[in-house]
């Protein structure tokens, strides 16, 4: 079977999804002014090089002994050298040398490096092992040394110079190509292409090479700049082209000889090199950013607009009044330890608009209780944890609301006072067991630092306390364990350490931010049991942030359900699970496979959580809700009687099935 267009099923090929299309790339590049300027400079140098004879006022070797070492004049805009040759003209002709040598050597580097890297990456195994060791050997030599050796062996000349510089950079190309080929080869679609009978050649040209185009363009631009630098250095040393061929490095060689008397001669060629190399490097960086979609944001954001729609304010006022009324008694009894009142958080976009991430969150945590915060990913649960601790990411700010800890507003606190709160009053354990701990510090050090921050203990006392804490969270052999590094701990054990760090300062509220989600089921329940046990012993409240209904059902006293930045329903766990009042809660419960139920297929909630910035004005869940009507979308919905639904009294919702 001959397939003229390799990798033919272009429409379904994942390649199209992987790399940014040319149009998309251009769209991004347009917003990178520095990249555009660099491209113009590169283009300018190329044009100068191409039309050198037309542009230069003199031939490069025209001597004028009446004007030796002339300063800049109308005749010689940049002056002349020791033989009265026009510096501007030499500069222009030298641009030609630079571009030809740089272009040629990058071509040579690719011709050697790309096939080499492809073979190593594609064949793998011994090819790769031996070839990679070979590249390591090449690393032992400075690039310019390879240039020296090639010229020592072959002599001087244009082609030799191009080959020498090309050889220097070939290993860099090989490395890049090898790495990309390796990852591409492992991807499913190449595997499936192999299975479906495409030849090696078809796979390489159809699947691998298209993905190499972008990185090669980046490397190409950067190495064009580097090649110009190397060419200049070799010419400066007299190893480049013959002396009658103008080059920037050669001009600097003459300038160096006359440096004491005519130091300014070094300026024009030097500036020419810097500008050209800089332009190539910035172009490479720019293409790289555009390929990876990392757009350089304009820093100066206009003053972010506030969400001051009257309707929004009205809904918030209702929620606030409701909340105040409902918690007033508990607050009066000093039963409430943490009280979030109307917390709203927004991301400031560079263009000036504010994207809401949390909208009007009211939540109370009572002393010693376990509160579940339930929702799909993207609902804003983790952002709520960060807002509570005053650890919002850069660019995200508190847009409204208060965080009251025993009646004190944390949002008004200084960084310094907030630091004293963190760990000692509020603490958090994040999701990833391993990366929660610094890989290059011992567990002991990571435990003693927070301990000493809170209690001002001596090192020895802090270590003793650290040992106690580790024992408390169920780690055995603590003295040995304290001197170990995180990679020597299993996921469950690492998470126990993270919990020990969190409770080092005896917090009143411990937030578990998906802290057990990455663990296997057995470990997960062990860690949860530990937390419940700690709560008993230390009398702290726990907020368990999770997307797992099982976790909530097993551990929590109360639950708050979040959806797209809002709390949609909250209440005692049995009440909410048995008689959900918000369609989203009901849908979550329906999607959760109960063990005793015959499940033919897993019910899921159709659609996805709308992204921040795409939230409707009205009910955020309306787009996925089976009960939605026009009314749901008309105006912002307030949280009334602990549920955020305008139809809650009209619809009949099914709760969880108990055994």
């Amino acid at each position: 079977m001959t397939v003229p267009t390799v990798g033919a099923p272009a429409a379904s090929s994942p390649t199209a999804r992987q790399a940014a299309g040319p149009r998309q790339l251009w769209g991004r590049l347009r917003h990178q002014p520095l990249t555009l300027v660099s491209a113009i400079v590169v283009l300018g140098v190329a044009v100068v090089a191409a039309f050198a004879p037309l542009l230069a006022p003199y031939a490069p070797d025209d001597t004028d002994f009446t004007a030796v070492f002339s300063p800049p004049t109308a005749d010689h805009l940049l002056g002349t050298d020791d033989l009265g040759r026009d510096i501007l003209s030499q500069l222009i002709f030298a641009a030609r040398t630079a571009m030809v040598v740089a272009g040629g050597s990058v071509l040579v580097a690719m011709l050697i490096g790309v096939p080499f890297g492809l073979i190593l990456g594609y064949k793998g195994g011994w090819y790769d092992r031996i070839g990679s060791r070979g590249m390591d050997v090449a690393d032992a030599l400075p690039g310019i040394m390879i240039g020296f050796v090639v010229i020592a062996i072959l002599g001087r000349g244009m082609l030799i110079l191009i080959f020498a510089i090309g050889l220097i950079f070939s290993m860099n190309f090989a490395r890049v190509v090898r790495a990309i080929t390796l990852t591409e080869r492992k991807k499913l679609y190449v595997e499936s292409a192999r299975v479906s009978g495409l030849s090696h050649r078809q796979v390489i040209f159809g699947q691998v090479l298209p993905n190499l185009a972008g990185p090669l363009a980046v490397q190409g631009a950067v190495f064009l700049g580097n090649a110009i630098k190397v060419e200049a250095a070799l010419s400066f040393l007299g190893l480049g082209l013959p002396d009658d061929q103008p080059s920037w490095g050669g001009m600097l060689r003459f300038a160096a000889e006359h440096q004491a008397d005519h130091p300014l001669m070094a300026i024009p060629p030097g500036v020419a090199i810097v500008v050209t190399v800089l332009a190539f490097n910035l172009l490479g960086d720019g293409i790289n950013d555009a390929l990876s979609g990392r757009r350089r944001t304009r820093r100066k954001a206009r003053k972010a607009q506030r969400l001051t729609l009257a309707a929004v304010e009205a809904a918030r006022a209702t929620s606030r009044a409701e909340h105040d009324a409902r918690v007033a008694a508990a607050v009066a009894e000093r039963d409430v330890v943490l009280d979030l009142r109307g917390v709203s958080v927004a991301l400031d976009r560079p263009a000036g608009e504010a994207v809401p991430l949390l909208d009007d969150v009211h939540l109370t945590v009572r002393r010693g209780e376990v509160l579940g915060l339930l929702g799909e990913s993207g609902s804003g649960k983790s952002m709520l944890a960060r807002a509570t601790l005053g650890m919002l990411p850069a660019g995200v700010r508190l847009e409204g609301g208060r965080v009251l800890l025993d009646g004190t507003d944390l949002t008004a606190m200084s960084d310094k006072r907030m630091r004293a709160i963190r760990g000692s009053r509020l603490a958090v354990v994040f999701q990833n067991p391993q990366s929660n701990l610094s890989p290059v510090h011992t567990v002991g050090r990571q435990l003693t630092d927070p301990i000493r921050a809170h209690h001002g203990m001596s090192k020895r006392d802090a270590r003793a306390r650290a040992a106690e804490l580790l024992e408390l969270v169920g780690v055995d052999d603590v003295q040995r364990r304290l001197d170990q590094y995180p990679h020597e701990f299993s996921g469950g054990m690492a998470q126990r350490v993270a919990i020990a760090i969190a409770i080092a300062g005896d917090p009143d509220v411990l937030i578990l931010d998906e802290a057990t989600s990455a663990l296997d089921v057995t470990t997960q329940s062990q860690v949860l049991d530990l937390v419940l046990d700690l709560r008993e012993r230390l009398g702290m409240a726990v907020i368990a942030i999770t997307h797992d209904l099982g976790v909530v059902a097993e551990t929590c006293d109360r639950v708050a359900v979040m959806y797209a930045g809002q709390i949609v329903e909250k209440g005692a766990i049995d009440a909410v699970f048995d008689r959900p009042r918000h369609p989203y809660t009901a849908a979550l419960l329906a999607a959760h496979p109960a063990i005793d139920r015959d499940v033919d297929r897993l019910p899921t909630i159709p659609g996805r959580v709308p992204l921040a910035g795409e939230w409707p004005l009205g009910c955020h869940f309306a787009g996925r809700c089976a009960f939605a009507t026009e009314r749901c979308l008309e105006a912002p919905v307030a949280l009334t009687e602990d549920v955020r639904c305008v139809r809650t009294d009209e619809v009949v919702l099914e709760g969880a099935h108990h055994d």
Binding site: G134, A140, L252, L437, A502, A504
Partner: protein, 314 residues
């Protein structure tokens, strides 16, 4: 520790062996014969044969290789074609200048690179970050030898603060040695510093975005401690991993800027030997340089293993 050194030696020794074999075979790559290259236009078949016999080039490759490795073990790198001097002696004479410059350059590079990298990495997006990071982009684009020329003109010719001609042996005049090293070290160090600063900044930014930063901050550890104790040590891991490459780059750069500062180092020896096709000397310089780089890499690998527990052999 001993295990770590042995483990790393297991990488370095074969690498050195391969380099030695490659360096040995250089003369076989010369089109025609090295003898013809030495004789130049005056070469006749008879004179070439005579020179080849004198230099032992006519003997079988295996015999020559055994001799070459035998020489290596006793520190004998042969005799220069042109001067007839032992290559080892010529290299030894040039080493102090090159090593002094590299040492000075590496110190400046590390101070500037780590300093600027940590400073900018802890405040990304600020004006200070943009200015300094822009400076590193410029630092990488500037040809080092040109930078050296400018620094000489400004600090030696115009301001007269420092001597124009650099090298004074340490044994003769320690202060003069130091003064002569300032400009070359600065030239080398600014270049190397720009590279290290970029790596350090990137490493610092990602270290500070890592979850353990949040864990410690949330546990009440002060920002300064999180930044400088935890952030910097984590950031040093990738920086250390690429420091060997920076060292190799600096050696290459030192070879070029020797000319600017009239330094009698390995670079000028390499340059004259390259032009004169004096292969024993070229081989000697290449081998010495490679050995230096491999040795420094070995040292850095050991440091890397010490700082990064995951890189220690089990």
């Amino acid at each position: 520790m001993g295990k770590l050194v042995l483990y790393r030696l297991g990488f370095a020794v074969p690498q050195l062996l391969v380099v030695s074999v490659l360096v040995f075979s250089l003369t076989y790559l010369v089109p025609g014969s090295p003898a013809a290259a030495i004789l130049g236009v005056a070469a006749t078949p008879e004179s070439i044969a005579q020179v080849e016999q004198q230099l032992g080039l006519d003997r079988p490759p295996l015999e020559r290789m055994v001799e070459w490795f035998g020489g290596l073990l006793t520190g004998d790198l042969g005799t220069a074609y042109r001067s007839g001097l032992p290559v080892t002696e010529m290299l030894a004479q040039r080493m102090p200048a090159t090593l002094s410059m590299i040492l000075g350059g590496m110190i400046v590079a590390l101070v500037i690179g780590v300093g600027v990298g940590v400073y900018t990495g802890t405040r990304p997006g600020t004006t200070a970050d943009r200015v300094l990071t822009g400076g590193t982009v410029l630092g990488i684009a500037i040809p080092e030898f040109w930078l050296g020329m400018i620094l000489t003109t400004v600090f030696a010719s115009w301001l007269g603060w420092l001597p124009i001609v650099g090298w004074v042996p340490l044994s003769e005049d320690p202060l003069g040695w130091l003064r002569g090293l300032i400009l070359p070290s600065l030239t080398l160090g600014l270049t190397g510093g720009a590279i290290i600063a970029r790596q350090t900044r990137a490493a610092m930014v990602s270290a500070l975005a890592a979850p353990y930063t949040d864990t410690l901050t949330a546990a009440g550890v002060s920002r300064g401690r999180v930044l400088y104790r935890y952030g910097v040590k984590n950031a040093l891991v990738p920086v250390l991993a690429s420091a060997g490459v920076v060292f190799a780059i600096l050696i290459g750069v030192s070879f070029v800027i020797e000319r600017v500062f009239s330094f009698p180092g390995l670079g000028s020896l390499m340059l004259t030997s390259t032009i004169g096709q004096d292969f024993p000397v070229v081989q000697g310089v290449v081998l010495l340089t490679a050995t230096l780089v491999i040795a420094v890499n070995l040292l850095l690998d050991i440091c890397y293993g010490l700082i990064n527990p995951q890189a220690r052999p089990a």
